[in-house]
């Protein structure tokens, strides 16, 4: 029996950013974290639960005509620590990098403390410091410990 030919699930992009090896189920959260949502005019393709060359499944995000900076993509390390970022020009990968959790995460995590000043109408983004035990709110000191699913707070 011949091996079935591999087919592309989604088409390649000419220019932009590919975020690969996203934890299955977190692709849409990644889009949310990057702030690429309705009204931005950015073309985004999301593939969920595709077969991974590393084995198992993965999500994949392709963003056309936009090259994401490292500090932008580092935010996604919260939910997709194994993700890789490829910058594409003329259908070629010109740069490839991994993600790492930044020291301070701004405007991504919602503080679980309902009495925190960031959960009011004040015009202030949330700020969480990455620490050994988890993520600490700069304002109310609430810690989201590492054993919690951080995706629930995004």
């Amino acid at each position: 029996m011949t091996k079935p030919e591999k087919t592309l699930v989604i088409s390649p992009i000419q220019r932009g950013t590919v975020i690969d090896h996203i934890t299955p189920g977190e692709g849409l959260t990644v889009i949310n974290i990057l702030g690429i949502t309705r009204g931005t005019g950015v073309t985004v393709t999301v593939a969920c639960n595709v077969e991974s060359s590393r084995g198992g499944r993965k999500d994949l995000v392709k963003i056309a005509d936009r090259e994401l900076l490292k500090e932008e993509v580092d935010k996604i390390a919260l939910v997709a620590p194994d993700a890789t970022i490829s910058i594409i020009r003329d259908y070629r990968v010109v740069d490839k990098k991994t993600v790492s959790v930044p020291q301070e995460i701004v405007g991504v995590i919602t503080c679980p403390n309902p009495n925190c000043i960031t959960n009011t109408k004040e015009p202030v983004p949330t700020r969480f410091a990455a620490q050994t035990r988890g993520f600490r709110c700069r304002y109310c000191d609430t810690v989201i410990s590492l054993d919690k699913d951080i995706g629930n707070y995004i």
């Binding site: 009495n115 000043i117 009011t120 304002y139 109310c140 609430t142």
Partner: protein
Amino acid sequence: MTVNQRNILSVRDMDREEIDRLLSAAAEFDHGKGTGHELDGKILAVLFFEPSTRTRMSFSSAMMRLGGKILNLGSVEATSIAKGETLSDTIRVVSGYADAIVLRHPKEGAARLASEVASVPVINGGDGAGQHPSQTLLDLYTIRESMPLRNIDIGLQGDLRYGRTVHSLAFALSKYDNIRIHSIAPEGLDFPSSLKADLSELGVELICHDTIEECLPELDVLYVTRLQRERFPDPVAFDNYASTYRITPELLEAAKPNMIVLHPLPRVDEIDPRVDTLPCAKYFDQAHNGVPVRMAMLNEVMKQ
């Protein structure tokens, strides 16, 4: 925030050297070594978005004893806040009226936010269940007036889960040598696990007790806090605990002769009034110490 602006927001931000410097300055004021003119011509804005007696009055008293003047927010209902103005906008505006701001607010983190938008120093006068650094400093000062801040066994009794004063005090004590903290709290009102983890990381020895009798003979300081009826599942449970946790002269017979009893006040039934006249009762001194400690804090952030 301007460069080098000095805020006092949380004991978490302060190292031992800073705390000791403030306590020494407080001692100078307490022992009559101030001139009374340190902050002549300065104005302190007192923004209290929650009811307060001791903190508000002692900050005002402290400012006046340093020669400065007070600008009070007044009642929240009569201000722009009632019209829906944000705290950030209020702070920006008040920054132009005063040389420093003391803020009491019901939301945790309010003082830190205020410090980020203010152009003058901000002192946290208590934010929700969060930080209350002036209370912590006056607690430390009161202990230091009786014994050096080292080799101390301190019992913290009452509502340790929601009581912000005990959280801040435990954290501040972690900066000193050989401090053992004995927690004495009913089930469900013990220290939050995150604070226990913090204290453990800082190397503080924390020993949990169900009853005060288990540790009373070892204590150098007994810090009692108010049990709040609404924290208990039912009134019977509250009444049972309240009677168990009452400090009486009879109970204190088992204590060391030099042990001191503190309470952030207001108290309800946790301490029998007969204790008030015993030499160990330091809680009214503690309240009075709020003035020199707050003088030291105000002078620290506004001095030239």
